[in-house]
């Protein structure tokens, strides 16, 4: 009888310790998850800012200005343009 009780006591202690450890593990993992989620949010914000930056740099008014003034480019007029129709449209 006493032996069974001792075994059960040992089991109980083991279970209790297991519970504590797993709870601790869960919390640690949760904190990690939380951290990663915050990071994701931060990256999202950064992505938004980068998108903003990209579209600011790529604004057509700016591109056109750079092309004209710095690269001395110009739009070819219609006389120097050869229009190639897509095969489907040409076959009609």
């Amino acid at each position: 009888m006493a032996r069974i009780n001792l075994i059960l006591l040992a089991l109980l202690t083991a279970c209790a310790l297991g519970l504590v450890t797993s709870q601790h593990q869960a919390r640690k993992l949760f904190a990690e998850l939380e951290h990663e989620q915050n990071l994701a949010k931060q990256l999202e914000v950064e992505w938004g800012q980068l998108q903003l930056e990209q579209s600011t740099w790529a604004m057509h008014a700016r591109v056109e200005k750079v092309a004209r003034e710095r690269l001395h480019m110009s739009v070819p007029d219609a006389r120097r343009t050869q229009v190639v129709l897509p095969a489907a449209a040409a076959g009609r």
Binding site: R27, F30, A31, E34, V45, G48, Q49, Q51, L52, Q54, S55, T56, A58, M59, H60, A61, E64, V75, D77, A78, R79, T81, V83, L85, A89
Partner: protein
């Protein structure tokens, strides 16, 4: 001495004393048990709440406002988080050194900070919407009584080019103008909240419940094409500067789908820096302002006549003499050409011809046409402040009014309504519903005139941009163009202003299978020239040419260089 024989032990105390003691102790335990039951079972809310507040917190989850992009996904409006610095003035304590640092960081003078702090006692914003990096440095000053909260600020990379279309949001991230206001419910996010358990270090260890999910606002894809928008804006700007016009507007419609591909206004403003804004800059003239369109309405009058069988393009109208008297009023033409065919009335924009055609028509039929192409009713785009214009009931028309309406006076429309009405000529008689958002399947139009009539009108409108018409400057190399000029005296104080004009041009191309409808309007051009064919048509030509090239529309005309007629040789239209 024997212990057991002690006489003290032999002493008998009365039994009630021990009983009383027992009862008292038992009673004490009962009271304790009762209190415990009361606190833990019956009235436990208060303590539970207190206990929870030691470890559980409700966190706000912020939601993003949706992006606005053009039809190709280019970002036109994006929100990014910023910080606002606020203070509880009663609690603010800082050294003069800290104050100087704070003032420098917030770009305020120290005296201004003092003034703000003296304004209120409980709450005051020191500065709203500052960059997160600056906010962090403000936080490092560790001034008590100073707090920060997170807000969103909206940026518009396109700046002034599409300011009136997009509108803007206020400091609380709610739309105040334009599309930001019109689609507020779509764009706005709903912030959520959740309850969490924090440990003594303030780290979240457990998520106990999600009270409300945060919902980010949805992204909005506009019909606008940023390249076309920029082209339209820059050409309009050039024209407004060179003609010294007070204002200008342009709209580009896709004739196939009814989408608004570009829409620009001048004067304009920079939505990223909205100091000193005036009403004139904010107005989206294309949508919210109406004007008397003038000759651009003549094609509709002629369309009624052809639909009713009252005329064909070749029927001759007795316009010789160049004037027509109705009652006390007289209508004049700018040039005398002798009698003209209906096609020539459009080509040379004859007021007398249009008036004579109108007088041969029942008022009801003319009203019916104007009504069906959408004049007098707002186009229902969902845009704030859409104008419907003025179209009076035909029963109250007098003959002179019917005659003047034939060439666009006594009726007012917005530029958007005018461009939309021209879709009936671009689409074989169908009027298209318009859309500010990109649509994947084109909607079904409403048949207003027959395809045959639409073709005849398109041919006449093509004549108007040929040499001998009012707008040879509207031509585009490589494409057949059709269009009509308009020049009208401005209405002022109930009459017409002598020297103030609204010049316009509405046209479509390529005429063989129209893809785009473009309407241009210049308000009070005052550099000498004011005819629509001289000031507005070149804008149309430049934008149409560029747009067709960008969209890859195959040319339908030989690529011969256009020879512009010498200055001042085009047919002056009647005003």
């Amino acid at each position: 001495m024997n212990y057991a024989a002690s006489p003290v032990l032999a002493l008998r105390l009365p039994l009630w004393r021990s009983r009383l003691l027992l009862a008292l102790i038992a009673g004490g335990f009962l009271v304790l048990a009762g209190r415990a039951v009361y606190l833990q079972g019956l009235n436990n809310d208060f303590l539970q709440q207190k206990g929870e507040s030691r470890y559980s917190r409700v966190l706000e989850i912020s939601a993003n406002r949706g992006k606005i992009t053009d039809r190709h996904g280019e970002a036109l409006a994006i929100s990014t988080p910023v910080k606002s610095v606020w203070a509880i003035p009663e609690e603010v304590q800082y050294s003069s050194q800290q104050r100087a640092r704070l003032a420098a960081l917030l770009e305020l003078s120290p005296r201004e900070i003092d003034k703000r702090l003296n304004e209120a006692t409980a709450f005051v914003y020191l500065k709203r919407q500052i960059a997160p990096e600056v906010a962090e440095r403000v936080g490092e000053l560790r001034i008590s009584g100073l707090f920060q909260n997170r807000e969103y600020r909206r940026y518009y990379p396109g700046g002034e080019v599409m300011a009136q279309v997009l509108g803007f949001t206020g400091a609380d991230d709610a739309g105040q103008e334009g599309i930001e206001l019109a689609f507020q419910s779509t764009l706005a996010g709903k912030s959520g909240s959740r309850r969490v358990i924090k440990d003594r270090l303030g780290q979240i260890v457990e998520d106990t419940e999600s009270i409300r999910e945060a919902q980010n606002g949805r992204d909005l894809v506009l019909a606008l094409d940023a390249r076309l928008q920029n082209l339209a804006f820059s050409q309009l700007k050039r024209a407004v500067n060179s003609t010294k016009a007070k204002a200008g507007a342009i709209v580009v419609l896709d004739a196939k789908t009814g989408e608004v591909l570009a829409l620009a206004n001048l004067p304009t403003y920079n939505p990223n820096n909205r100091n000193r804004l005036a009403g004139a800059q904010l107005r989206n003239r294309v949508i919210t302002d109406t004007f008397e369109p003038g000759s651009t309405l003549k094609p509709f009058t002629v369309a009624v006549a052809i639909e009713q069988g009252k005329a064909t393009p070749a029927s001759v109208i007795a316009t010789a003499g160049g004037s027509l008297s109705i009652g006390k009023a007289t209508i004049h033409d700018a040039h005398r050409f002798g009698d003209m065919t209906v096609a020539q009335v459009i080509q040379r924009s004859s007021n007398v011809g249009a008036a004579k055609i109108a007088l041969s028509l029942p008022a009801e039929a003319m009203w019916g046409m104007f009504d069906q192409v959408g004049f007098g009713a707002a186009p229902r785009l969902g845009f704030p402040g859409e104008a419907g214009g003025k179209l009076r009931a035909y029963k109250s028309w007098r003959p002179i009014e019917q005659a003047t309406m034939a060439y666009g006076h006594g009726i007012s429309v917005s530029l958007l309504q005018l461009a939309r009405a021209y879709t009936i000529f671009a689409r074989d008689g169908e009027l298209m519903p318009l859309s500010l958002l990109r649509i994947d399947t084109p909607p079904v139009g409403k048949q207003v005139i027959s395809a045959a009539t639409a073709h005849k009108l398109r041919d006449m409108l093509e004549l108007a941009v040929q040499p001998g018409g009012t707008a040879p400057r509207a031509r585009v190399m490589g494409y057949r163009v059709a269009g009509k000029t308009g020049t009208a005296h401005k209405e002022e104080n109930g009459g017409y202003a002598e020297r103030k004009y609204v010049s316009s041009f509405v046209g479509l191309a390529p005429a063989s299978d129209p893809r785009l409808v473009i309407a241009v309007m210049l308000d009070e051009p005052s550099a000498g020239e004011y005819y629509g064919g001289v000031v507005a048509a070149p804008v149309f030509s430049a934008v149409m040419g560029g747009a067709l090239r960008m969209l890859g529309v195959p040319p339908d005309a030989p690529l011969n260089p256009l020879e512009l007629p010498p200055e001042g040789s085009e047919i002056k239209e009647s005003v």
